[in-house]
């Protein structure tokens, strides 16, 4: 039994912090998807700058949030224990790898790009996991969801790029489908573990994501992408495009909810009450 004031939603990290996970996740996911499945060509050439731009946009969001923006380079000072520092280093490595893969595409540079993108997404997941003050963030199952949603968003962007350059690429569709299923499973496990720890509006906000991410984000996207893969190009593009956009939107919605609306702290709790007076 515990006693104490009710927890409240943290106000330190707002949409700007959420933006880092949304844009950074999608950007690193796109770079990972490009390394995994996109063949060299126009879509590949666009995917790299687009992925980097999204990662940069996410980092810009963080920069807008910090209290001392002119000291931003201090973020590199603690690689020993801080996942934020590790994310910053991974971001630098990601940019270097992307430039190398862009100008010298080959097995080594593309593999390095994929690894750097994976490490960047991994660091993002662990930034939340290391936040001991927020039960919805420190839940270990969140790591799998953040990784799965980054890959989903990246694969969805890769589908859009492939279609924009008139390619029906089964491998890209397959990656998106696999990522959507993985994301749905990761979300289910995460929400099952986390929702019981929350109360009130934050719990309702988290639970409200479930039908959106499962019915629209997973089944809806899968159905549209499956239909697109079976149809000729003129019909495939809008269907797959809508499916991919739904996949991205639901992932961003989930991450925004986790960071800004489900981020209850745990308040203060007394395991026992003081004993007063004579006994």
């Amino acid at each position: 039994m515990s006693f104490g004031p009710k927890p409240w939603i943290q106000l330190h990290w707002d949409w700007r912090a959420a933006g880092n996970f949304m844009f950074g996740g999608a950007g690193s996911g796109l770079l990972l998807a490009a390394a995994l499945v996109l063949p060299l060509g126009p879509a590949w050439a666009v995917s790299l700058p687009l992925g980097l731009a999204l990662v940069a946009l996410g980092l810009l969001c963080v920069w807008l949030e910090i209290g001392r923006p002119l000291r931003a380079l201090h973020v590199f000072f603690n690689p020993w224990t801080s996942w934020m520092t590790r994310e910053a280093f991974a971001g630098v490595a990601l940019f270097v790898a992307a430039f190398a893969a862009f100008f010298r595409p080959g097995t080594a540079t593309v593999t390095a790009l994929g690894l750097c993108a994976l490490v960047f997404a991994w660091c993002q997941a662990w930034i939340l996991k290391a936040s001991k003050g927020i039960p919805a963030w420190r839940e270990p199952k969140l790591v799998a969801f953040i990784l799965a949603t980054a890959l989903t968003e990246g694969a969805a962007l890769a589908v859009l790029l492939a279609l924009a350059y008139s390619r029906q690429d089964k491998l890209v569709y397959g990656l998106l489908a696999a990522a959507l299923v993985a994301r749905a499973l990761a979300w289910s496990m995460y929400v099952d573990a986390t929702a019981p720890k929350l109360t009130g509006a934050p719990r309702a906000a988290l639970e409200a994501v479930t039908p959106r991410i499962l019915w629209f984000g997973t089944f809806g996207s899968l159905a549209l992408v499956a239909a697109a893969s079976a149809l000729p190009q003129p019909y495939a593009l809008p269907l797959a495009g809508i499916g991919a956009l739904i996949a991205i939107a639901t992932g961003w919605h989930a991450k925004h909810t986790i960071v800004t609306r489900a981020s209850l702290n745990q308040g203060f709790a007394l395991p026992v009450l003081p004993v007063r007076g004579a006994r």
């Binding site: 943290q10 990290w13 949030e65 209290g67 801080s82 003050g133 745990q266 007394l270």
Partner: protein
């Protein structure tokens, strides 16, 4: 070795908030920033209701999550266990604030004063270096260090003790070295039952709450 800890005797605290006022006066914290807070908890339902006053603040954990997540190494831990913030290094990312399970950290982005314009005392103590960075209770480490330099004993001599402890009208707050078995805090912990807040998180807080005497 020395490890400074604080004890709050929940049986004694009357919720007068004098510690809060003393802390604000000593550390010149802006409005809505309370490094030493006293929670007023109402527990139960009528007619079986109890009221408990719980001093809270930075717990100066032995394994502080705020220090681990800090990307700039602004948050550090001294050899005596006190968790510190270097305001010149802090980038104000507030990662420490969301990592702290005790809501002990604050970030003030612009100068604020109790009545808009700063009073003379506020203007005198205003530190622009504290804007846009994380701040929290320091266990009045400057007082401790100055007291030790004079040969005084923290927790015993007021000039070497945190302001909140000195001000407590009910002697509910105590401060001392838990590594010294003869210290006031070690004696209190030996004689009473105690707990630490959110101990299940493994942060090993340096803030103990007494709730009953030990059964004889």
């Amino acid at each position: 070795m020395t490890r400074w800890v604080m004890i709050a005797d929940l049986r004694r605290c009357v919720g007068c908030q004098t510690c809060t006022a003393a802390c604000k006066h000593t550390n010149a914290t802006p409005p809505e920033v309370q490094w030493r807070r006293v929670l007023d908890m109402e527990v139960g339902e009528y007619p079986d209701v109890k009221r408990v006053f719980v001093p809270v603040g930075c717990m100066h954990c032995a394994d502080p999550p705020c220090m681990h997540v800090c990307p700039s190494t602004a948050t550090r831990q001294r050899a005596d266990g006190i968790v510190t913030i270097d305001y010149d290094l802090c980038i104000g990312c507030a990662y420490c604030a969301v990592a702290c399970p005790y809501q002990a950290r604050y970030k003030t982005d612009k100068a604020e004063f109790a009545y808009g314009e700063p009073m003379e005392s506020e203007a005198k103590q205003f530190d622009p270096g504290r804007l846009g960075v994380a701040t929290k209770c320091t266990f009045c480490s400057d007082r401790i260090d100055a007291g030790l330099a004079k040969g005084l004993k923290p927790g015993v001599d007021p000039d070497a003790s945190p302001a909140c402890v000195n001000s407590c009208i009910a002697q509910a707050l105590h401060f001392g070295d838990i590594e010294d078995p003869q210290s006031n805090v070690s004696q209190l912990l030996a004689e009473n039952q105690f707990f630490r807040m959110h101990e299940e998180l493994g942060t090993e807080p340096g803030f103990y709450y007494l709730w009953d005497r030990k059964p004889s």
